[in-house]
Symmetry: C2
Subunit: 247 residues, 2 copies
DNA sequence: CGGGTCCTTGACCCCCCTCAAGGTCTGTGG
DNA sequence: CCACAGACCTTGAGGGGGGTCAAGGACCCG
């Protein structure tokens, strides 16, 4: 701590020392983890398909890191990816879990603004940035679909701000489970949570222990059940929805 | 509280009862507060200007509310607007403060997703939605500029998630002051904070008291000074920047 | 000058974080 | 098949940052 910060330091030094919890991902998709399955097929109709390189990545593999020069754009075909930002002292905020159809690596600047790592084994499409932008320039309809997707992401981000700024721990976990259940399928009673409690905690602005306790409370109240293999069964969807914002 | 929630209730009933702090804005721009200053001028070159209706709104005036049917799109010309979402029990999360050039009311769905109210007296441009969309369809260059702005907003939203999820109270307030100072001007040592402590608190996920205490700490440490009329002077910009993420 | 709103400060408390221990599950090697 | 190591999850005990409650001060405006 810099000496000239002494005064302020004494006022706030008791800040919780959030330890850098998450171990860095083990591999890079460019080295061991990535397998190129298929090269572009020029006969396809979708102009994005035409420049896509399909890649299979192992679980817990880094795709790119915050600060990397913005090279490629990715689309998740299958599997789950986490996207996060770090503070200098290691505090981590997961800003999103990406699933089928989600895009990442889109940035207006020269650098990636967050780190992307696979949670599960993933199938991805990789688009070289220059060619991706060329396609978007040439295809207004595609560009519009992309804009719509980004706008939808912004809406989700604003909802998440409400969660992070104003919800209690149980409300956050309930919101999280409900959203996954909704995304999985219409009446999805069972959802898979492929990510660790640590990932969930860093997404919800909590600690692993608090997340675990919140799951226990939801279980005890008969709202959900925790099954084998990270499966969650939504027992009482209505109650889960209520718990989402007025526990 | 519903009876069938009793079990969960006992587990989480001690939730802080965030009171609905903010009084609703006093007027609607469509009624008393709004004054149409100029109608579209067909000779102008900017196709958006051509469909814009310039409006002056008093301070603390509601422009539209969450859930309203998505009528018009607005651009802030001058002044400051706050945009927020509410939970059913009144907890409020301000998702942004809008200034010159910022757009609002853009939504893909049929409803507004947040409430927009002026903080100060504002000059606004109002675009009827159908005509706005027509212009965007006809002018790819404009549409691209709009997309870029939305993408920039998404980046800001992700930064704000880090703040809400992982920063301490003093770090949040320091980040807030620094960002306003950066936006105001390059070496801006003095910034105006036109919004109340309550607005700031609901933006930073804190309470007014905690915001006030954080300001006091920054003042005591010699980082900032609080002047008349909501002015803040940044005394030590370097220290303010440090306090932003490792207090 | 009186009433209102906003800001600040203090005292107290609670939700969540920290620290620690024990349990469960999985993959690996003997 | 079992032993073992390691990672992950859960649970408990205790403490702290920030919320709650309350009071006083500053400021504005009629």
């Amino acid at each position: 701590m810099a000496a000239h910060l002494a005064t302020l330091d004494s006022a706030v030094s008791a800040r919780p020392a959030f330890v850098p919890t998450a171990a860095p991902a083990r591999r890079s998709v460019r080295s061991v983890g990535g397998t190129v399955v298929s090269f572009p097929d020029p006969r396809t109709s979708d102009p994005l398909e035409a420049i896509a390189e399909t890649v299979v990545a192992d679980r817990e593999t880094m795709l790119f890191a915050e600060g990397d020069s913005a090279g490629d754009v990715y689309r998740v075909v299958d599997g789950m990816v986490r996207v996060y930002k770090l503070l200098p002292d290691g505090r981590r905020q997961v800003v999103g879990f990406l699933q089928g159809g989600d895009m990442m690596g889109l940035t207006l600047g020269p650098c990636q603004l967050y780190t992307a790592e696979t949670v599960t084994a993933c199938t991805l499409q990789r688009f070289p940035r220059a060619r991706f932008e060329a396609v978007m320039d040439a295809q207004p309809a595609l560009a519009r679909r992309l804009s719509a997707r980004i706008a939808t992401e912004l809406v989700a981000a604003q909802d998440h701000m409400v969660l992070l700024g104003r919800k209690t721990a149980v409300e956050r976990v309930a919101s999280f489970v409900l959203r996954l259940a909704e995304r999985a399928q219409a009446d999805g009673r069972r959802v898979r949570l492929p990510m660790s409690r640590c990932d969930i905690a860093d997404y919800l602005g909590l600690t692993t222990e608090t997340v675990s306790r919140a799951f226990t409370k939801l279980k005890t109240s008969g709202t959900i059940r925790l099954l084998e293999g990270g499966m969650v069964e939504v027992v009482d969807r209505g109650r889960l929805a209520e718990t989402t914002e007025s526990a």
